[in-house]
Subunit: 126 residues, 2 copies
C-alpha cells in the first residue's frame, strides 16, 4: 500500500505548501488569495479582459461569489469595467494599472516556488 | 502582459478544477476533503504510520487542527493509534481497514484526473 500512495502524498503536501505560500505572498501585496486568482484569470486571457460568466468556470465559484469578488476588486481600484465592443449587453473586465502592478509583484515573488512545484509534479509516478 | 500570465492562469484554473473534483470524490466516499488528505498522508509515509507532529508539516495545519482531525477520524473508525515501538512517548497513527478501503476508492476514482493535471503542468512554460 505504502509505495502506491507515496508520490500522491508528496504531491499533495507540496501542493498545500505551494498554495499556502501563494496566499501569503498575495496578502503581502495587499490582495486576498481570491483577488489574486481573479486578477490572474483576467490577465491570463487572450485579450486581457473577460466576463463574469467566464470567471465562474475559471475560478470554480458561483455566479454570485464572482459578482461580489469583482465588485470588491473594483472598489479597491484593481479591476475596471467596460462595455464589450462586440456585445453591448456584456461587461468586459480588465485590470487597472494598480491591479497589474500587484499581480506582477505576486507573480515575481512566486516564480521559484512554481518551478519547484513543477519539478515535483514531473516526478509523479503513476 | 497577457502571454506572460496565460500558462499560470490555465494552471490555476485546472488546479482548482482538480481540487474541486478531489473534494467531490472524497465526499462521495464518506470522507471530508481534510480526512481524505489525512488518510493519504498517513498511508504515504515509508512505514504506513506517522505522528501528529509529522502531519502538522505535511498538511500545513496547526497542531490543534491536526489533533482534532485525527480524533474525529479515529471516532469514525478510519484511523488507529498505537504506541511507537521506538519511543513509548510517541503515538503512531495508521489506517484501519475501513480507512484503507475508502482511501483506495478515492485514489482509484481520481486517477485519470491526476494524470490530466500532470499533463497540464508539464506544459507550463516559464
Amino acid at each position: 500500500m505504502t509505495s502506491l500512495y507515496r508520490s500522491a502524498a508528496r504531491f499533495r503536501a507540496e501542493l498545500r505548501r505551494f498554495l499556502r505560500q501563494s496566499e501569503d505572498i498575495a496578502r503581502a501585496n495587499g490582495l486576498t488569495p481570491r483577488q489574486h486568482l481573479l486578477l490572474l484569470q483576467i490577465a491570463g486571457t487572450d485579450t486581457g479582459s473577460t466576463t463574469v460568466s467566464d470567471l465562474v468556470t475559471r475560478l470554480q465559484l458561483t455566479q454570485s461569489a464572482v459578482t461580489e469578488l469583482v465588485q470588491r476588486a473594483e472598489e479597491a481600484g484593481l479591476v475596471q469595467r467596460a462595455q464589450s465592443p462586440n456585445d453591448g449587453r456584456v461587461v468586459d473586465l480588465s485590470l487597472t494599472p494598480e491591479g497589474e502592478r500587484r499581480l506582477a509583484a505576486v507573480y515575481a515573488s512566486l516564480g521559484p516556488e512554481r518551478q519547484q512545484l513543477r519539478a515535483i509534479m514531473e516526478a509523479l509516478e503513476e
